[in-house]
Amino acid sequence: MADVLKKVPVREQDPQVRANNFEEVCLGYNKEEAMDEATRCINCKNAKCIQGCPVAINIPGFIQEVKAGNIEEAYKIIGQASALPAICGRVCPQESQCEGKCIRGIKGEPVSIGKLERFVADYALENDIKPIGAESTNGHKVAVIGSGPAGLTCAGDLAKLGYEVTVFEALHELGGVLVYGIPEFRLPKHAVVAKEIEKVKELGVKFETNVVIGKSTTIDQLIEEEGFEAVFVGSGAGLPKFMGIPGENANGVFSANEYLTRSNLMKAFDESYDTPIVAGTKVAVVGGGNVAMDAARTALRLGAEVHIVYRRSEEELPARVEEVHHAKEEGVIFDLLTNPKEILVDDKGYVKGMTVVKMELGAPDESGRRRPVEVAGSEYTIELDTVIMSLGTSPNPLISSTTEGLEVNKWQCIVADEETGKTTKEGVYAGGDAVTGAATVILAMGAGKAGAKGIHEYLSNK
């Protein structure tokens, strides 16, 4: 019997071993461990965890089924709210959502909801349990732009309501950030992402890859020429930001997006794929978010010595605690309160080093975090051959600039209602990073759900 104050520990690959491979770090629960952990849930009447979940999964409901060993039933309960549980169980920031609200967490550790969700979803993938779709279609066509978490969720929900949904994806693979952004060792592409998308296909959703909306066709043309009655835009984040410091265009400076896309989407880490990647021998990753951790841990696995260069202190790191912990365990070095000033370039145009300056924290800024200020005279130079800039993204104008009547805000994000996804253009709904700027998978899924609800209301009343 487990210690009720503590989570049943989850098995992980040994840090020394996993630092050299791309296999999944966390091995997940087996049925016995899951059933054991499930007993820790006290099945609150007014379950706070559900309020903490952006897609409002009936968490105590599915956990009670796990406790009883009815995993298929548990999957069906999750399936009512989420089309992508194997993915969410892995990448959701549970500590600040469901688990953050768990009553168990007041005294001791919260119930390991994420790992339980993952166990149930993996069980369903392994045993090929089918999702429950609509009995017949209602004849209404809806287009979904982007096959990332927002688009997949929206498409799945609409298909369950009987809509004929087609998802248009710009890249050659389905999954958006789930395939180009999040690394294999956190989210296996073949075993998890592809299979979970297969479940969305089983609901009747059609997919078309290699269609760049705004270029290959436009939203107006989808509506006027291809007969779609509503459109959901879940096109994702967009253009990577750079610092604007000297030397940033040198060979060996990459955006985290480029580095991760080469490794994740193009599988450059695998010799049998054609796309090259420069592993680097000594790498600095500039930034402190989840994407920075992903880039750092990827470079580490490719054989480099990796430093995270972040201008604030550990407390302000925007990355999930678990990601920082994993990165440290694997040997990523954290150069905190340090900021790049210049990238030094050799005569052939390659990176040879970086001048950085020490920082200290001053008064809080508008984000509430203490503002980092330079320590005068503390500049020094580090030798390295690769710099990965992980500073966030700004929205891609491809869709907003080619869709008349679609309003954007001053950050160029699409303006959309939070509850329904409704934009300023009739019949067009939006959600995910295209609306909020870079955020998390689960928030995008929540927005996809809202969009599906908004579109259903719109088409029902049309």
């Binding site: 270029k215 104008p397 491809l398």
Partner: protein
């Protein structure tokens, strides 16, 4: 899958293919490009559009073997298919959206070097279809490497062919042809130059001197081609531009060609190794530091 309807060798190491891609063919404009991916493990390769047939739903691409991926691509035949074919990407040439009457009053010079003749062709054809005669210089290293001469002749106002080795047409590089035309008293309001970066650099140095505004089409390294990765970034004047979404065409007098050429070398060694591996196949044992050899 995107079916190849025609595949032919235009010159040594230069190939032309017609590919079935109805969405691209319906929407593409001169100046834009596509990305092709051969198979599951292939790279995303950006290529310029040489021609398009909206009715037939086909796109004509032209490419030169420059590395392992293009070498493999050259082996494809009519009836084979590409796994992926995306586009049209990038912005259309500026003149497509210009006032036609104003455009008709301009003297326009196109300069194409090597396989640059491929992306220049649909632009000149567009001009012809809109009743505008333009001057076109097409340059190649040798007579054997000259492509699309007949096609270009049919759409250009005046066509000037030159070869570096003098084996055909005017003897010399495209820059010497531009100088010759200038000496003959020809005046141009705009020059559009497409070819290897080194050629575009020298054309721009010359046209700056001759005070001819010049547009170039940049072909840096790309991955996604939709603005996501930033691999294709260029210094244009004081700004950083992404060739895939801001370009590929830019004011040539503002482009930092030296930096762009250095950036193009980024994977040169990697490419070389991949090429070696492909050529030597199973006989390739160690030494390259890339494939692991037989150890």
């Amino acid at each position: 899958m995107y079916k190849i309807l025609k595949a032919e060798e235009l010159a040594d190491k230069i190939y032309l293919m017609d590919v079935e891609a109805p969405r691209v063919a319906k929407h593409c404009q001169p100046g834009q490009f596509i990305i092709v991916k051969m198979d599951d493990k292939g790279e995303r390769i950006p290529l310029t559009i040489c021609d398009y047939d909206r009715e037939a739903g086909t796109i004509t691409i032209v490419f030169q073997i420059v590395g392992a991926s293009t070498q493999k691509m050259a082996e494809l035949k009519a009836g084979d298919s590409f796994r992926d074919f995306t586009g049209p990407l990038g912005c259309a040439s500026e003149f497509v959206n210009e006032d036609l009457e104003e455009l008709k009053n301009k003297k326009i010079l196109f300069v194409a070097g090597g396989v640059g003749a491929a992306p220049v062709y649909p632009q000149v054809k567009w001009m012809k279809n809109n009743g505008i005669d333009v001057d076109v210089i097409v340059g190649s290293k040798t007579k054997d490497m000259l492509i699309l001469e007949k096609e270009m002749e049919a759409v250009a106002g005046n066509l000037y062919v030159c070869t570096d080795d003098g084996s055909y047409g005017h003897s010399g590089m495209v820059t010497s042809m531009i100088e010759k035309l200038a000496e003959e008293g020809k005046k141009y309001d705009v020059c559009i130059a497409i070819g290897p970066m080194i050629m575009m650099k020298f054309v721009c140095l010359l046209t700056k001197k001759l005070e001819i505004p010049t547009i170039v089409s940049m072909n840096p390294i790309m991955v996604d081609g939709t603005g996501m990765c930033g691999a294709c970034r260029l210094q244009v004047g004081n700004e950083i531009k992404f060739a895939c979404v801001d370009g590929p065409e830019f004011d040539g007098h503002l482009v930092d060609f030296d930096q762009a050429m250095k950036r193009q070398m980024m994977y040169r060694t990697e490419e070389g190794r991949a090429m070696l591996k492909l050529q030597e196949g199973d006989t390739h044992h160690g030494g390259c530091g890339h494939c692991g050899g037989d150890n």
